[in-house]
């Protein structure tokens, strides 16, 4: 790999052993994929070492001790508890104490304490064309597709990028790899879908299952709020490992169909109709209509201020069924705005909890975490959500039955304590 003089000096240890080691991993990574050189990244979404992963916190502390600070604007991904109000998620104290060590290490490194899967809603908006390094599959696909920033599916190496400012020029950082490969024409997308996440989540799940890791191009989509596009991407990155999609007339690299495919011919062309989305919802759901439920979770990915406003409006003066836990997940930055706006108070008076920094799947409710820390199992029997991502992971990791429905019906399900189908 061709390195600049500055990079060679860093690799030789002239800026310290820790930076040399971090850059060494980046170079090794680039060589594995035959990258020709490194690029300067403009932003990093950093892995939030979670207390539920063995040794993860200790590694972070050692890394923070060895490195002085990050060199690009850096936000942090989710934790395993609401660290502003740990009692809200019911996390055992020793796990919360361990997780809090992440916060001090991140502060030392100069990482913004966002602890979210939607950093873009916290103001992290990398410019079109800029190389970045990001974890969180739903954020990665958003940055690539909706903003036209350049990132691959980052993991633990994003921390090496944050301190060195470097990433190999490969994958979606190369223009030629950003061409669409598969064409999906969307037919009969439900008319009211722009107001509700479910159909977007279903569409994303169906497309992700079909393309795996390749680049889909979607046509005939309606104009819709940004939150719907976040939902669509999150689902594609759940059933597949899609990191980039183009939606003609909606995303910045696809004003036209020809532009989305960069002049190449689509490998496949498919039509997706409403029935295919209904089938996907039915296949993921294993709750029966009207079956009693004990958990509702909205906010996967983490909600925006507008989504919290809409739900608070809907729950104003209402009461959630006393047998139902109702979580609405968001980031602490958005929750703080929602507190200022008065939405949090309305939601909590109705009996819902506005949870920040985490979600059920990332929390101590994961069965493997309960077993490892000798905690009682979460005793969740039936969960209702509007998100395929939440449904897919809770099923196996928390071990509960799940029911997918529209956001509106999920709220109504919370009030009635039973699963209302879409």
């Amino acid at each position: 790999m061709k390195l600049t003089d500055f990079e060679k000096r860093m690799l030789d240890g002239q800026f310290g052993k820790a930076l040399a080691e971090s850059l060494h991993y980046i170079v090794q990574f680039g060589e594995a994929f035959d990258a020709e050189r490194l690029v300067d990244i403009q932003y990093c979404h950093y892995p939030a070492e979670m207390a539920i992963y063995e040794g993860s916190i200790e590694e972070l502390q050692a890394f923070a001790a060895d490195h002085s600070h990050v060199v690009v604007p850096t936000t942090s991904s989710t934790l395993c508890a609401d660290m502003q109000y740990p009692e809200k998620t019911g996390i055992p104290e020793r796990l919360a104490q361990k997780q809090s060590l992440t916060c001090s290490a991140h502060q030392k490194l100069g990482i913004q304490p966002t602890y979210t899967c939607t950093p873009q809603l916290n103001g992290a908006i990398p410019a079109f064309g800029s190389p970045i390094a990001s974890v969180e599959s739903s954020a990665i696909i958003f940055f690539n597709s909706m903003l036209g920033a350049r990132t691959n599916r980052g993991g633990l190496f994003t921390k090496f990028s944050a301190v060195t400012g470097k990433y190999p020029k490969m994958g979606y950082l190369l223009e030629e790899n950003r061409a669409g490969q598969h064409h999906f024409q969307v037919k009969d997308f439900p008319a009211n879908s722009t107001e509700d996440s479910l159909w977007w989540s279903a569409l994303g799940f169906v497309i992700g299952s079909s393309v795996g890791s390749e680049v889909p191009v979607i046509t005939d989509m309606p104009i819709a709020p940004i939150e719907r596009w976040i939902t669509l991407g999150a689902a594609m990155a759940t059933s597949g490992s899609v990191s980039l999609f183009h939606a003609v007339e909606h995303t910045p690299e696809a004003y036209t169909l020809a532009m989305a495919f960069k002049g190449k011919t689509p490998q496949t062309s498919k039509t997706i109709d409403k029935q295919m989305l209904v089938t996907a919802i039915e296949q993921m759901t294993n709750l029966l209509p009207n079956e009693k439920i004990d958990f509702i979770c909205l906010g996967c990915p983490h909600y925006s201020l507008e989504q919290l406003r809409i739900i608070s409006n809907r729950l104003q003066g209402k009461k959630v069924d006393p047998d139902v836990r109702f979580w609405i997940c968001t980031s602490r930055m958005i929750r703080s705005m929602a507190q200022t706006a008065g939405y949090v108070q309305v939601l909590e008076e109705a009996g819902a909890k506005v949870i920040a920094d985490t979600c059920p799947v990332e929390s101590h409710m994961r069965i493997s975490t309960c077993q490892e820390y000798h905690l009682p199992l979460p005793q969740i029997r039936a969960l209702v959500t509007d998100s395929f991502k939440m449904a897919r992971y809770t099923k196996d990791l928390i071990g509960c039955k799940v029911g997918l429905t529209t956001t509106e019906k999920a709220i109504q399900s919370a009030l009635e304590g039973r699963y209302l189908v879409w």
């Binding site: 991993y25 090794q28 990574f29 594995a32 994929f33 892995p47 979670m50 992963y53 063995e54 040794g55 993860s56 974890v135 969180e136 599959s137 990665i140 691959n152 599916r153 980052g154 993991g155 633990l156 190496f157 994958g171 992700g208 795996g212 890791s213 990155a237 759940t238 059933s239 597949g240 490992s241 493997s368 077993q371 490892e372 897919r392 992971y393 196996d396 990791l397």
Partner: protein, 137 residues
């Protein structure tokens, strides 16, 4: 009969072990039980991936998969090698580099016609210009 499959070596290393064959996409988050190293889903449900060569078509799902792989390494429950049909997921390769797990990608999908869960195979990846391969015994 010895059968050889060539591919692109991504992470160096050599290992001989039993294979766990998953003829579709796979996610370390959600498809593996973290305390036991066993598969949670699909036709291999309950099968351990510990010290096995894990063969699957491609990665899917959360970018937390890389962290799950490293956690399995710490618990000594990780696979001994990884083979994929498609070009590998960047996220997963990061985990494989950090834990020195040999990784072979771009192998012909016909591998699923002969290689089954329980088959014995050798993975040899040198990345030195010679052929990197998966050899079924």
């Amino acid at each position: 009969m010895v059968k050889e499959y060539l591919g692109k070596g991504v992470v160096k290393g050599c290992v001989t072990a039993e294979v766990v064959s998953i003829p579709h996409s796979f996610s370390f988050l959600g498809d593996v039980e973290m305390n036991l190293g066993t598969l949670l889903t699909g036709e291999n449900k309950g099968v351990s991936i510990k010290n096995k060569i894990l063969l699957f078509s491609e990665s899917k799902g959360s970018s937390g998969g890389c962290v799950v792989l490293l956690t399995l390494v710490k618990k000594q429950l990780a696979p001994a090698g990884i083979v994929t049909i498609k070009m590998p997921d960047y996220n997963l390769v990061e985990g494989a580099i950090l834990s020195n797990i040999p990784f072979l990608a771009n192998v012909s999908p016909t591998i699923f016609e002969t290689v089954r869960t329980g088959s014995q195979a050798t993975l040899s990846i040198h990345r030195d210009g010679f052929f990197d391969s998966f050899v079924l015994h």
